[in-house]
């Protein structure tokens, strides 16, 4: 059985889903791949946009998301971020 993911893991999973789709993905794919409810996914996408980890584009009325350099940095340094928050009880 999968263990409950924390916030940082969910953010990592969403960013990986976007990155694996050549850095451009529709919200429905994120919903399907990240295993979140629609409401939760919207909250996370808003947060990731605010943090500038992803960017949003609207083409022909349809939204797509791509990962930014900050998002790539988050993924590459995820182990450090996760270990630090765990060690100091900040997760």
């Amino acid at each position: 059985m999968n263990k409950k993911r924390n916030r940082l893991e969910i953010i990592k999973d969403i960013l990986e889903v976007i990155k694996n789709k050549s850095g451009k993905i529709k919200p429905t794919h994120i919903l399907y791949k990240s295993n979140l409810s629609h409401g939760m996914m919207d909250l996370y996408l808003t947060e990731l946009l605010e943090k500038e980890f992803i960017s949003e584009k609207t083409e022909k009325g349809k939204k797509t998301y791509s990962i930014t350099q900050k998002g790539q940095n988050y993924l590459s340094q995820y182990s450090l971020i996760s270990n630090f928050t765990e060690s100091f009880g900040l997760s």
């Binding site: 940082l8 182990s79 450090l80 971020i81 630090f84 928050t85 765990e86 060690s87 100091f88 900040l90």
Partner: protein, 222 residues
Amino acid sequence: MVFAYIVPPWFFRIDSLFEIIFSISTLIIALTAFKIYSLSKEKNILKFGIGFLLLAMSYAIWATLNAITIPQLQEKITGVEIAQLLTLSLLGTNIYMMLFMAGLVTLAYATFNIHKGGIYYLLLGPTLTVIAVSLEKLITFRIIAIFFLSFIAYHYIDSYSIKQNNKTLGALISFSLLFIANFIYLFAPLNSLSYVISHGIELLAYIGLMAVLLRTLQHSSQ
């Protein structure tokens, strides 16, 4: 009004060295937290960093104060110079207490995982006011510090019960040692040995926190 600790003469200057070590250790933790905040944009990490930066500043003030005042006290000085020295000491001690307490409040706030500035304002405002208006500032300061440190230590007990590993245990032991050190500081205005013991325990606490940080960085680079 109690505004000074009794320090054994042989411990003069050694205590400044301890405080410099405390200041550097807390500054390293703060800078690491800021670096991780820049990658993650997690507000709790930023608050944690600010908390440790305030602690670093408080220890730097304390070390500077001791470095300036103690050598002068050992020399023959006039009444006017003593008065100036006392004013400086009082001012420095007050700044140290305010910064240290602001650091602890910020650390406690970081553990809440709540992002409402109002709660921070409610915690910090009354805490600093009580110390500022107290007639027994050092004792009031230490009692409030003990309350905050007990809360933070409890948070780490909670963290350790969820994630049982050496790093969370290290953080738990370190914050518990800080709690004990602050409890013993309560007796330092009356007993010189308390001041020395508190410094020793505080040193162990920061060695512990640095060890946790090093282990975290090592694990992350593997």
